[in-house]
């Protein structure tokens, strides 16, 4: 433990102390009394930088290192600072990053899949990372709700809760007076509170847009549907031109202050000049001039939500993209992100942190999923349009990284990159087999583009090593790897075919299943639940011997499933009671299905829909995935400090960081220090 009197002050601390001292003198108080927060602390002045590279795959990384394309990663590997990193069960990003956060498995943090369910309502699904609870009680004034959240009324306002349980490792740093700052951290929305004020965080994956989803684009076209059509992750509307002008509506946040909630909307006009191949968009006070194929900068919009008394205003930001001018004008509007300069939702801890970043960087994406993969999957974007949009996201991240490094003095800095994941989902294809939607040449070209992003990550690492290599422990890590996604497996269709879901002609577990005859159901990407008596509302399977036998029976049958060509589909089915430990295990699916490379749960499976066939080709642009078995898609860890542990896993990273700062590893953590001698 370093002595407080000896240690060097960092810049921020120096400025803080100076300001407090000045305030103390001017108010007549002794500065020592005003600045009473810090005592001697462990790890003072120590620097640890962690770069989270979502989805960075060990196979591809090793191949590129061998080919000399990742010189900085290769340098660390040669010096003993590289291991394949064991991922989570299942290897889904929210689960994996929560493992990293708690230094323990899902039994500790309670995130087992993107999607969970409420068993007391049988199987009503919700997003596992955060849940918005509706308010309770109100007074009705005209068409408005008035909620008074104090005695004697005690109405409850709607609230968004972080579902991750347990103690995140930065709380131990915070308690010890060690600063930590996280940029775009997944599985931490709304960002958890810092008890001692030494922790700052910009929330990442899991953060919603202003429409309350994970990103809803709005698309307008002359050949669009007459009635606005909602599609997963977007909405399409028709543009009708009268002379050279069309009017449209941009949908904003829902006004929950109304008895019958409805979305706030902003009218806008599109004027077209086909001769100039350009259009003018007039929205609120903005005039946006775009040529075909051009993106606008970020546009700030003011959404007015009516409420009793003075209306509420919510500021959102979006970008316009003019895809085509004629004969069919097509206009894409990005999801409406919370305005970082004036955010209506809590995006950072502390709340004002986002404002500080925005003062420096201006406007930027604030949703968790920034690459608009839905627009590509729904064929609103072409491959190239998606690449351009996703590369813009990467450029924004690099700008944010520059800011993060400039603002960093000591303690822990964590920075997250999503490009290696969300571009890999669309562009990864490391096989000679036919790609689901692309020609072989195109598939190769876009896979090369993905390799270019790995090279960019290598440059980032090189820069950080150059600047901090001698004074900081630097870690670059991923949460999982990647695999092609060629064939999809419908778990509920398989359960139905094997008599576990009744009746035999049911189509969806949320629609027409007979629960009195259904023994098990699938929900989420990897989860399988028994219809357990006493847990599920309409449960029929008796806990104990009956459930035990059923679990083993389903597990054995699933592990024996083969494709039409005889290939094994499922590598391993994990029993929750044997794979997880901890207080949150009660929320876990009973079985976690671990697919072989090339396979994944079908799109329909995730929300319980059934298809005629159990195994189908994947025909989506989302052509690669990692929601396979834990053994199929491990991640990577690199460090400028030799890794002594033979094997490393995500749960080991937090204990290693704490040890670097001279702190003891708490008993709640299941991992161990990978640098231990």
């Amino acid at each position: 433990m370093a002595n407080n009197s000896n240690r060097k002050l960092n810049r921020r601390e120096f400025l803080t102390r100076s300001a407090i001292a000045a305030a103390g003198f001017s108010t007549g108080l002794a500065p020592r009394r005003v600045y009473a927060g810090k005592k001697g602390r462990a790890g003072a002045g120590k620097k640890v930088i962690v770069i989270g590279i979502d989805g960075m795959d060990p196979g591809l990384s090793e191949k590129m290192m061998r080919g000399g394309r990742l010189p900085n990663f290769a340098k660390l590997a040669e010096a003993g600072g590289y291991r394949v990193l064991g991922t989570s069960i299942p290897p889904q990003s929210p689960v994996a990053w929560a493992n990293f956060i708690n230094g323990a498995g899902p039994g500790s943090h309670g995130i087992f899949d993107f999607i969970h369910r409420h068993p007391e309502q049988q199987c009503v699904p919700f997003f596992a990372m955060a849940e918005t609870l509706p308010g309770e009680g109100y007074w009705e004034i005209g068409e408005h709700k008035v909620q008074l959240d104090f005695w004697p009324f005690n109405h409850k306002r709607p609230v968004t809760l972080l579902r991750r349980q347990g103690t995140p490792f930065w709380d131990y740093l915070d308690e010890a007076g060690i600063g930590s700052v996280f940029y775009n951290l997944p599985s931490n929305y709304p960002p958890s509170q810092s008890m001692y004020g030494h922790h700052r965080c910009l929330a990442g994956m899991g953060t919603t847009d202003l429409l309350g989803g994970y990103g809803t684009y709005q698309h307008y076209a002359e050949d669009g549907p007459v009635r606005t059509k909602e599609e997963g992750g977007g909405r399409r509307s028709m543009l009708f031109f009268e002379d050279d002008t069309a009017k449209a509506e941009l949908i904003g946040p829902t006004n929950v202050l109304l008895v019958n909630p409805r979305a706030a909307a902003i009218e806008f006009e599109v004027h077209r000049d086909t001769g100039a191949e350009a259009a003018v968009i007039e929205i609120q006070k903005h005039r946006i001039l775009l040529k075909e194929g051009q993106w606008s900068r970020w546009i700030k919009l003011d959404f007015e939500l009516s409420k009793p008394g003075v209306d509420k205003h919510i500021s959102g930001i979006c970008r316009f993209y003019l895809q085509e001018i004629s004969p069919n004008l097509r206009l894409y509007v990005s999801p409406i992100n919370a305005d970082p300069s004036d955010s209506a939702i809590k995006l950072t801890e502390p709340r004002k942190f986002i404002k500080k970043i925005s003062n420096r960087l201006g406007l930027f994406y604030t949703t968790g999923f920034q690459e608009d993969h839905k627009a590509l999957s729904n064929k609103v974007f072409s491959d190239e349009e998606y690449r351009v949009q996703a590369d813009y996201v990467l450029q924004e991240r690099l700008n944010l990284l520059a800011y993060a490094l400039e603002d960093y003095d000591d303690g822990l800095l964590f920075f997250y990159f999503s490009s290696t994941d969300l571009q890999a989902h669309m562009f990864w294809w490391d096989s000679d087999e036919k790609h689901p939607v692309r020609s072989t040449a195109e598939a190769k070209m876009y896979f090369n583009h993905l390799k270019g992003i790995y090279e960019k990550m290598d440059e980032v690492l090189g820069d950080i090593l150059h600047r901090y290599g001698n004074e900081a422990t630097i870690i670059a890590m991923s949460d999982h790897g990647f695999a092609n996604f060629r064939r999809q497996f419908n778990l509920n269709s398989w359960l139905r075919a094997n008599g576990y879901v009744q009746p035999g002609d049911s189509t969806a577990i949320l629609r027409d299943v007979d629960w009195s005859g259904t023994k098990a159901y699938g929900l989420g990407i990897n989860g399988l639940y028994l219809n357990l008596k006493g847990r599920e509302r309409d449960g029929i399977v008796e806990p104990g011997q009956q459930s035990e036998e059923l679990l083993e029976e389903i597990k054995a049958k699933l592990e024996a499933v083969t494709d039409t060509n005889g290939k094994q589909v499922i590598r391993k089915v994990h029993r929750a009671d044997k794979s997880y430990s901890g207080p949150a295990t009660v929320l876990a699916p009973d079985l976690v299905v671990g697919y072989c490379r090339g396979y994944r749960a079908s799109w329909a499976t995730c929300l319980g829909d059934m298809t005629e066939e159990v195994l189908l080709d994947n025909d989506s642009a989302w052509s690669a995935d990692h929601c396979a078995d834990v053994s199929e898609v491990p991640g990577v860890i690199f460090s400028n400090k030799p890794i002594t542990a033979e094997r490393a896993a995500l749960i080991d990273v937090a204990p290693s960081i704490l040890t670097e700062f001279g702190l003891r590893v708490p008993s709640s953590m299941e991992g161990r220090n990978i640098f231990a001698t």
Binding site: D244, D273, A276, A278, A279
Partner: protein, 280 residues
Amino acid sequence: MSFLAQLIIWINILTNNLGRLLLAPVAVLPGWLSNTIISAVTGVALLVIFKYTSNQRAIGRVRDNIKAHMLALKLFKDSMSVTLQAQGQVFKGALLLLLHAVRPMAVMIVPVALLLSQMGLWYQSRPLMVGEDSVVAMKLNGSIEQPWPNVNIESMPAAEVTMGPVRVLSKREVYWKIKARENGYHHIMFQVAEEQVEKELVIGKGFMRVSAKQPGWQWTDILLYPWEKPFGPDSVVESISIDYPDRLSWASGTDWWLVYFFVASLIFALIFKPLLKVRI
């Protein structure tokens, strides 16, 4: 209306010159400080104007009367008739005070409006920064059916035209996108049919006098945008505007400068009221 427009143009010539001289320090001072100084001077000046244009003796009498009836309200709160009568008198006094304020208001409204339009040139928008994009919009006179004149923007070293002209026939508007290249006060030259017109373009950092619109022959626009000579009623062009960015500041930023000005000038007026012995 034409006479009013012409009158405001003449007044603008005078106020532009005065503004150029008196508001010149705005360019070098921090925004909050310059707006505070202007508010202080204006607050005190308006107080003095109020003193000499209002009937101070009558205002004094009304205020004394109100005080007397307030006292009556306190002393005779048990008597309904006295209370109601006193309340009526207080209300009447408040109305009388408003009436006494009409003359000074009438005297002050024009100089205040002119001052605000001059201040708006400095605070309402910030100049473009080098490398920044903006949209230039030209509105043409005439009806939709009338033929379109040839409209061209001349190339210039100060800014690059990156897009346009983009014509919106239904609005008789032409747009260009420009990218700022050189700091300073510049002029964009346009050739519209046989007519050559120009619009000031401001590029730089900090506080510069920014005229967002060169107005047409409408007295309200001429009052709001005083710096550039308006287009005549016979001109092919109705107006030209440039989308300058908002200035972000509570004390001297877009729209907020006005709120700050009114609050600060009111505070200074209240501070100086006893010193200058003004009854409001």
